[in-house]
Every structure is written in structure tokens, then in C-alpha cells.
């Protein structure tokens, strides 16, 4: 595993001066991942904050080859790029010893929802690439609409906390589980606050042959109604409350990478976010209980699988 000093000494492929919000979780995630390999990296990005915030002509934040084509197809686009790489290598149109890595980034909307089919197809076909979902829990680029990753109870512009309905009524989809069901060689959940863990996972993923996947929680001050300076802290709380467990599945074996010494109640994470303000009201106590139950059950399930073949 690389030291912080080694990592910071590497060439920055994602330049500053982009237009993502202050406190956005995406840039540190992207930087850390791109620094996790010494090979050249070709990147594709689904439509969303990362794409819009980094590619406004005539500027680009990408010091590495990059393509955005549409919203729902990052996995299909990178499939094409990676296939071209194999085709051209086979025909000696690229140096055979040249090793290039392929990374697709998509938001939760572009991955859990509209891009799920393309992702599933690309995983099944077995292209060699890393898919990274930066999961900020809503369609942020278009103004905080709910996605299937939005947590239960959250207020979004399409699941508003109204007089009758109190925010999103459904639990989130467990995308990481869905990806694992594809029997990919490597899949993991990570968080930007734990840079060592994230770096380690990206390194593993990028040195694996075949499709790999990282689901990374990505705090969004605008959508979560949090202070920009508290982003990394809020990611840490998501992990310490076990809302966002850090775990990986490597060749079928599940490993929980971090078990908090003291599992914090989920309210600790909820109460710092304005999107959950309404569920703090006494009459909505049942929502917090329901949320906590779900987190507990999922965490127990995960612990029961620790070290096991899944």
C-alpha cells in the first residue's frame, strides 16, 4: 500500500480549477483512484456533476484521455474503449507491452437507476475495467431528485417532506449486492474519509483482470444540507454508524474492512444533515427507528458473511 507521501508525489491527472462545489466528495475520490495505479488511465464519465463540472469547453480538468457520451451508458462506452484496446493490440497497432487501465465514473442515478442495465451487461461480458459509483444519494446535477440510492426518509425535490408524506418512503437499493451477484473478481464499498482503504481498494481493482467495482459514498453539501467543511466528517459518520459499511468481495470471499469499536446510532449521521430535518420531529420518531432497524439488520447480515464465500 502506498504512503500518503508517495501518493501526493504522483502526477495529478485530475486538475484543480474544476467547477464542482466546495465540499463535494467527488474530487477527492477521483484523485485518489487515479493515483492508485502507475499505468496510464483512460476515463469515461456518465452525465452528472463530475462530467459537467470538469469539461466545460474550452477547458478540461482531465490530464488523461477522457470521454463522456451520455448518462446511462458509461459502462457501455468503456466497454467499447476497452474492446478497441484489445482489438488494436491484437493487430499490433498499439505496443503490446503497453498496459492501459480503464475507469468509468457514474453517480448513483447513472449507476443504480438509468445505467444499471449497461453496467450489468458490461460486468457480465467481462471487460477489464473499474466502474466507480460516486454515491451522493440523489440526482444532484439536476437539483436533488430522489434516486434508488436515496436513503429512507430523505427530503429531495421529488420526495419532498410534505404535510402528508415525509420524504422518501422506500429503502435504498443495495447496488453493491447486485454487482456481487455478477460474480465479478473484485467489488467493494469505500469512503473518501478513509483514504488508505479507498486507495488500497482502487489498487486491487486496477490490478485485477476483469470487471471490478467500487461504490464510494460521496458527501454532497448541497443535497445533504451539510456544511462544506463537514463533508469528510459526514462520510466518516456514515461509516461509523454502519449506514455505509466498508467491505470488499475478492474472488468470492467477503471481508468487512472496518468494524467500528463502538457502533454509533444512525441518528448521529442523520442529525447533521438538513435533508433529514423533518424526521427529527417527535411525531416522526418511528422513521428513525425504522431506519435504525434496517441499518442494524444489514450490518448483522454483513458480519455474518465476514470471511465467507458469498
Amino acid at each position: 500500500m502506498a504512503t500518503l507521501k508517495e501518493l501526493t508525489g504522483k502526477k495529478e491527472l485530475f486538475s484543480g480549477g474544476h467547477r464542482l462545489c466546495s465540499g463535494c466528495g467527488i474530487p477527492p475520490i477521483v484523485r485518489l483512484i487515479l493515483r492508485s495505479t502507475d499505468c496510464p488511465v483512460v476515463v469515461t464519465t456518465a452525465t452528472g456533476c463530475l462530467e459537467v463540472g470538469t469539461s466545460i469547453y474550452p477547458y478540461t480538468s482531465w490530464r488523461t484521455p477522457w470521454i463522456h457520451s451520455a448518462f446511462e451508458n458509461a459502462a457501455a462506452t468503456i466497454s467499447g474503449v476497452e474492446t478497441a484496446y484489445r482489438a488494436l493490440k491484437k493487430r499490433n497497432k498499439l505496443p503490446v507491452n503497453k498496459d492501459i487501465k480503464f475507469v468509468a465514473f457514474g453517480g448513483d442515478g447513472g449507476t443504480y437507476d438509468i445505467g444499471l442495465q449497461a453496467l450489468s451487461g458490461a460486468l457480465e461480458r467481462g471487460h477489464s475495467f473499474l466502474y466507480v459509483c460516486y454515491d451522493n444519494g440523489a440526482y444532484m446535477n439536476t437539483g436533488i431528485q430522489r434516486s434508488s440510492s436515496t436513503p429512507f426518509g430523505a427530503n429531495t425535490t421529488t420526495s419532498p417532506a410534505g404535510d402528508v408524506i415525509q420524504g422518501k418512503q422506500e429503502f435504498r437499493k443495495d447496488l453493491t449486492k447486485i454487482v456481487i451477484a455478477h460474480n465479478v473478481p473484485y467489488a467493494a464499498q469505500a469512503s473518501p474519509h478513509h483514504w488508505k482503504d479507498l486507495n488500497n481498494k482502487a489498487q486491487k481493482a486496477l490490478s485485477t483482470n476483469g470487471p471490478t467495482f467500487l461504490n464510494v459514498i460521496s458527501p454532497c453539501p448541497l443535497g445533504w444540507y451539510t456544511k462544506p467543511e463537514e463533508s469528510i466528517e459526514s462520510a466518516k459518520l456514515a461509516v461509523d454508524t454502519c449506514f455505509w459499511p466498508l467491505y470488499e468481495v475478492e474472488n468470492g470471499i467477503l471481508k468487512v474492512n472496518y468494524k467500528p469499536k463502538e457502533k454509533k446510532p444512525v441518528i448521529e449521521w442523520i442529525k447533521i444533515q438538513g435533508r433529514f430535518k423533518h424526521i427529527l420531529k417527535p411525531e416522526n420518531k418511528w422513521m428513525i427507528e425504522k431506519f435504525q432497524d434496517r441499518v442494524d439488520n444489514e450490518w448483522e447480515r454483513l458480519l455474518s458473511l465476514d470471511g465467507k464465500q458469498v
Partner: protein
Amino acid sequence: MAVETKHKCNVGLTGNSAVAYAMKQINPDVVAAYPITPSTTVMEEFSSYVADGAVDTELVTVESEHSAMSACIGAAAAGARVMTATSSQGLALMWEMLYIAAGMRLPIVMACVNRALSAPLNIHCDHSDSMGARDSGWIQLYSETVQEAYDNIIQAVRIAEHEDVLLPVMVCLDGFITSHSIENLCLIDNDKVKGFVGEYKPNQPSLLDVEHPATYGAVALPDSYIEARRQQSEAMKLAKDVITDVGKAFEKVSGRSYGLMEKYRMDDAEVAMVILSSAAGTSKVAVDEMRKRGAKAGLIKPRVFRPFPYLEIGEALKNIKAVAVLDRADSYSSFGGPLFTEIRSGLYEFDKRPKIIGRVFGLGGRDYGVHDALAVFEELLRIKDTGKVDKLFDYITVRE
């Protein structure tokens, strides 16, 4: 099915086999496709070529047409020569990505085996699929016969990749009528095809050129978007001459000549029909019959619909007395099909212009026979004689 050819001519192939065979001879770097009737057998046969090692193309059997075109875009941006095939709903599902392929100026070649769009579901031929994509920025070539489909695919590669063009090309052939009928055709030697299409050298820095990182698919705000579109529009304009030149070069290797359109018995014609693809063949029989009856009938079969050769077609029609434009697609303007409205608009450039009518025919594979074409010519003769158009726009081959 593997095609082995000892003789170059009199090879009996279906349209789809001929397209697949042309793809085999081109041996593209990457093909990404998804099955749909009636284009499916193109991909099935090409898959056999891959499985048998007749080509060393990388085949991506994607999970949808949207992903097919997305993968084609990714591969083309990575510097690969890329091809695909689809029909109908598949083309409709690709719609978003068609514009992106053209906007990124990626020279992808696609066979579009024309089929009607749902609803109601129908697997037979009409042109509503490709006509729906007419504004997507793709060059469109329409093929009358198996021979033309084969020849167009080979020429499409050179047209798309020409440095003045760099646009994707759609080669259309009629579903079932051409795609599944066996016709005799002449194949070109592998070496000649290889020489004709040449080695692909992308004009733009590819995504795999890691020493020269390029950004594809940026955001363009109002300060730059229209310039990108303007360049695309200019490329489409330039494509006209490139298509003509490639047609001439193709004649040298094949002996068959191709231009923007085919004119049939137009020299002294007084009444004429304009019609695309396989139905032009049927209509030529009607032209001959009308000539036998003493009427000066002629026909124009546009080969190129995008870019639209409005001046050339207008020039060919301006001295005709009455013209019927037959569309195998409606555009629901209640005014006429796409070919009709564009030809009528193109004729506005000319002071002298014919009386003109638009007729929609053959939707969803409805038969269009010589008698249908003859009836249209009879109507044109009445218009020529009376100078009066009763119905500007109407349907034929329909039960009312």
C-alpha cells in the same frame, strides 16, 4: 454461413449475407451489435466469421442497441474502425446515441435494414426507422438491390473516414424484400476491398493515445455549441462531393458506377416518379410499360438522402411536367412524407418547376406492385394534361 467464392459474379446471396460478407472483407477492428429482425442475420453471419477465425474483429454482444451504439462510440473514439447493424426499434433505441456519434465526428458504419416502427408492431419493411433518424447527422445511403447494399457498405467506410467528412454513415436496405431475398451479385476480391477501404488512420487523437490526452464529449455552452454544429453541417455539405468521388473510385475496382441518384429513362421524360430503394425496381418495370404505351415516363431513385442533393434532383426534375414522390414513411405533418417535402422544397429554387404530388405507400411491408406504380403514372398523365392536382398528399396501397 460461410461464403466461398470462386467466381466473382453470379453469386447468389441474400442482402444480409452480402452485408455480412462485405463486413468480413472489411474486417473492422470492433463490431458491437444487438439482434433485431430483419437485421439479425447480418450479425449472426458475422458472428460465424468471428467464431471461424475468418475475421479477427473484436465482437461485443451488448445487452441493447443503446449500448451497441455507445460501445461503437467508445471504440471509435479509441481509434478503432467500427461497424454495426440494426433495424426499427433498435435504431429508435439508439436515437440518443446517433446524435452523439455524429457530434463527436466518429466515422462509424451501420447497416440499417429498414423495418416499420411500432405500434402496431410490424416486422416488415418501411422507412420510418431511418427517416426518423434523418436529422441525426448521419449520412444516409439507400440501396435498391443486394448488389447495391454490398457496394454501399464498402463505399461507406471510405466516405465516413474521409478527412473532409468524418461522419457516421447508415447504409439502408429494405427489410425482407432485400435483406432476405437471394439475388445474384458480383463480389469484389478481398485484396481489392482491402485496398479500397485502406488502413484506418484516425484523424483525431484517440483515447488510447495516452501521451496526448484528449477530452471527448465536453460540455459546450452557448459560446461554442453552434460552432461545433456549424462544422458538422459543413462536413455534411462536403460529403456530397466525397460520395461522388468515392463512387468514381469504386467504379474503377468494381465496374459499377455510383452517384447521388440514379436516373431511369429521364432524358425526354414528361412525367416522373421519385422513389427510394427496392420499390424503385418495381417502378422501373412500370416506367417501361408506360413507355410501351407511348407515355414519356421516367424515374429518379435518390441514393443519397443525407446530405440531400436538392439541386441535382431539382435540376433533373425542373423540366418535367408532373412528378410523384413516393414515401415509404409518413412524417405526420399531414402534408407529405419526408422525401416529398424535401424534394418539393428543393424545387422552390427553380423558376420552372413541375406539378408535384406526394404518396405514402407500402407501410409495414404492404405490397407495392407494378399496377400500383402504373396507377400513379396514369394520375401523373392526367395532371400533365389538365394542369390540375386533385390531391397533393395521399396514401396508396391502402384499403380505405
